[in-house]
């Protein structure tokens, strides 16, 4: 077990290294990305520009700049922003994490509950109108652009119907830490949670239904039926249990990706200062230190989630080892 784990770890590091180099190169390939002129000000002379470039080490060869950035990010941990000079990057990312976690955790609770409900109901009533209706709704959920759903939700709850009894409780956009005011935290996140969850409800409901239907054709279900177990018991004790393996691994990957900043559009639309929005702002500002930090952060979650799921798969299903 030790060797595969080590190999896996080496692979993860390789992947993250690759990503950091790609991002670094992309940054320097962008015209106008040289922050010196932006830092120097609007009518700086070329001499001042050269001074600024030198003081930021921007006149050094790229490999050295790369090593310096990585050293400051991981070893001395005092990397600072190019745009808001003096602002440390790592604390900013750490501060944004609870926002993203709040968003993703809440949405995950909603999508798991509703996803299972949709999947189980559809499988139990397979072939009926209910099944078809649920599957249609699920597909609609999968087909909607999240940012559009968010915008429309904002339009309804913040503007058009804000003054009605239905939505007057919705607070203005933004985030309140749970430690500061749990009730406001909850109220301000409920619309973003639902927006983010819609897609996954559709997805998980559909996948779960397919798995359940498949499971019903397996021998052990037939055996259970033959034993005279009730349909409910078969569904929950047997069919659902086996189907949940896929469900759980899917969940792991999605959760990892979302915590890693995948909820970018939701955060942007709802003005939540999470990691996704931080990443987006860093890219907009072409703030290299922030870009590097957020990219490393998100790829870390993606890589770890991938590794965990792969390991879980290998553990559950020995056949996979060969396929990989």
């Amino acid at each position: 077990m030790l060797l595969p784990t080590l190999r896996r770890l080496a692979e993860m590091i390789f992947v993250m290294l690759g990503i950091s180099i790609v991002v670094f190169l992309i940054f320097f390939a962008t015209p106008g990305s040289d922050p010196a002129a932006r830092i120097a000000g609007r009518n700086a002379t070329p001499e001042t520009l050269a001074q600024v470039r030198h003081s930021f080490g921007l006149d050094q060869p790229l490999p050295i700049q790369y090593i310096k950035v990585m050293e400051k990010l991981f070893i001395s941990r005092d990397l600072t922003s190019f745009v808001n000079r003096g602002q440390k990057v790592i604390p900013a990312v750490i501060e944004a994490t609870p926002v993203t976690l709040s968003l993703v955790l809440g949405a995950a609770v909603i999508w798991v509950i509703f996803g299972i409900w949709v999947g189980v109901t559809a499988a139990a009533t397979r072939g009926t109108v209910i099944d078809r209706g649920l599957m249609l709704l699920g597909l609609v959920g999968v087909s909607m652009p999240v940012f559009w759903v968010g915008s429309v939700a904002n339009l309804i709850t913040q503007s058009r119907f804000h003054d009605t009894w239905l939505f007057h409780w919705v607070p203005g956009l933004g985030y309140t830490p749970i430690t500061q005011n749990p009730w406001l935290w909850f109220k301000s996140l409920i619309i973003p949670w639902m927006t983010l969850a819609i897609l996954y409800i559709g997805l998980y409901g559909r996948v779960l239904r397919a798995n359940l239907v498949e499971a019903y054709q397996e021998d052990f279900i037939r055996t259970a039926r033959a034993k005279g177990l009730s349909e409910t018991r078969i569904m929950f004790r047997h069919a659902l249990r086996t189907s949940l393996i896929t469900f759980v691994s899917m969940f792991g990957l999605d959760f990892g990706a979302l915590v890693g900043g995948g909820a970018l559009l939701t955060e942007v639309v709802f003005d939540l200062p999470g990691v996704g929005r931080l990443t987006y702002q860093a890219l907009q500002n072409l703030d290299l230190p922030f870009i590097m930090a957020t990219v490393m952060y998100s790829s870390f979650f993606v890589v770890v989630a991938n590794a965990l799921v792969d390991i879980a798969y290998a553990w559950l299903d020995p056949r996979v080892r060969d396929a990989r």
Binding site: T30, P31, G32, S33, D34, A36, A37, R38, A40, G41, R42, N43, A44, T45, P46, E47, T48, L49, Q51, V52, S55, T80, S81, V83, N84, R85, G86, Q87, A92, E95, A96, Q158, G172, L173, G174, D271, P273, L278, Q281, Q284, N285, L286
Partner: protein, 557 residues
Amino acid sequence: MTLRRWLQSSAVALLAATGLSALALPSAADAADHTGGTLRLTSSSAAGTIDPQVNYTAQDWQIFYITNDGLVEFKKDEGPGSNDVVPDLATSIPKPQDGGKTYVFTLRKGIKFSTGAEVTPDDVVASFQRLFKVSNPNAGSWYNVIVGADACIKTPATCTLAGGVVADDKANTITFHLTQPDSEFFYKLATPFGSILPANTPPKDLGTTPAAATGPYMITSNDPQKAMILKRNPYFKEWSAAAQPAGYVDEIDYTFGTKPEDEITAIENGQQDWMFDTPPADRLPEMSRKFPKQIHINPLFAIFYAPMNVNIAPFNNKDARLAVNYAFNRRSAVDIYGGPRLAVPNCQILPPGFPGYKPYCPYTKNPGTKWSAPDMAKAKSLMAASGQAGQKVTVISDDQNTDPQISTYLVSVLNQLGFKATLKVISANIQFTYIQNTKNNVQISLSQWYQDYPAASDFINVLLGCGSFHPGSDASINISGFCDKTIDAAIQKNLVTAVTDPKAANAEWAKLDHELTDQAPWVTMFTPKQLDFVSKRLGNFSYSDQFKVIFSQVWVQ
């Protein structure tokens, strides 16, 4: 999101519409009633470093205006008075000696930094050395006039300004020696770059750490992702109501990271008192109907313009440039910006009301002093004469506020004229440097210029002088690359005239303004106005031409 902050290094207004000639100062009893409370400001993002000698943004200059002081300062007043320079840390405005090459300032006694230490002549010398050590943006363009500055620009670390800035502790004076007379020297000292900081301030950009304050407020904490907090400076005692009056509120909380949309909602609901950002156009009708009393509109000394690169096709052809100028419907651009209450059509280089401004508009039906309507027939015939029809043109726009929309309209005009125009929208953070660099071969772009200080040269010389054109550099603010040797010689001559005879100089600036307008290096579109949306409880709204709302003079209770 910070370009506008870069650009609005200072934004300015004319006399507020209602004829306020002076700051309506409340009576003493009134003042006591209104003292206290917390002023809540909000902005979508922070404005970078809070080092007053480095930061070059309208957003933070508004803050430095009440936290720090220079030897001289713009008067904290409303209307034209706010463009006057008054003594601040110095006891008086010194008379020029040696033909305008020497100035002797006497320092006021007893003024203390927020650290408790007294302000001394040594602090002044150190502050000017520090300007160069921290690579101040304008070290090379404004302060290079000080003797010894050249050496400081070359090797900032060892900057002494020996012979340039000389302290005399006994007499409590500081003497400045300049290499040549400079009519704008006091203005340069009056901006936050001229703030006097303690001599022991580290000689590098302070970043997120606040500098010691001399004004009524000091920054006590600052997190660019969250908020900046200002509290009263315990060592502040009012020494000049004109330069640095005491403040009303006890605390100022400046929060960052809210979208402009939501800032408006917060102000409407009384959760915030003032917002930095321009309100999105689609909220204007609602605001002006429901909360007209909370809106303050004041003119700015600024222009929105489209610089055309006069060195590459197709705009190296003057007829082509003229055609665009005649065809461009300034009223349409004004409408996109928010309607005629928020902007005034403009054809020339200088904004209305600025020193040296004389109304002039050749690019309209019925040419004269005012723009009235586009002259499409004339534009089409000029276009035919230019032979540039069918040329490919790319308009470079930034992505802030209404800029993409105004640029889209410009593209439409170019296409109407027969160009094959497309639009390229790039992040505001890179657009401003991108369009300056000749290597990027930008043909036409959208840009804005907000005055630094009230002098015509800040537009004419800075934006169209040969000295601001640096091919191949990201810092080449003469975006058109326009360099006319005759006009430039006249500009340089007039800069000297301005030292002794400002009136004659302004008359000459007006002439140069019109000459440059005739050369059509730009399409000047309009001069915007400043809209401030404030909470219901905010009182005594005071607006300076130089730094907009004066936070120390408003009250919240």
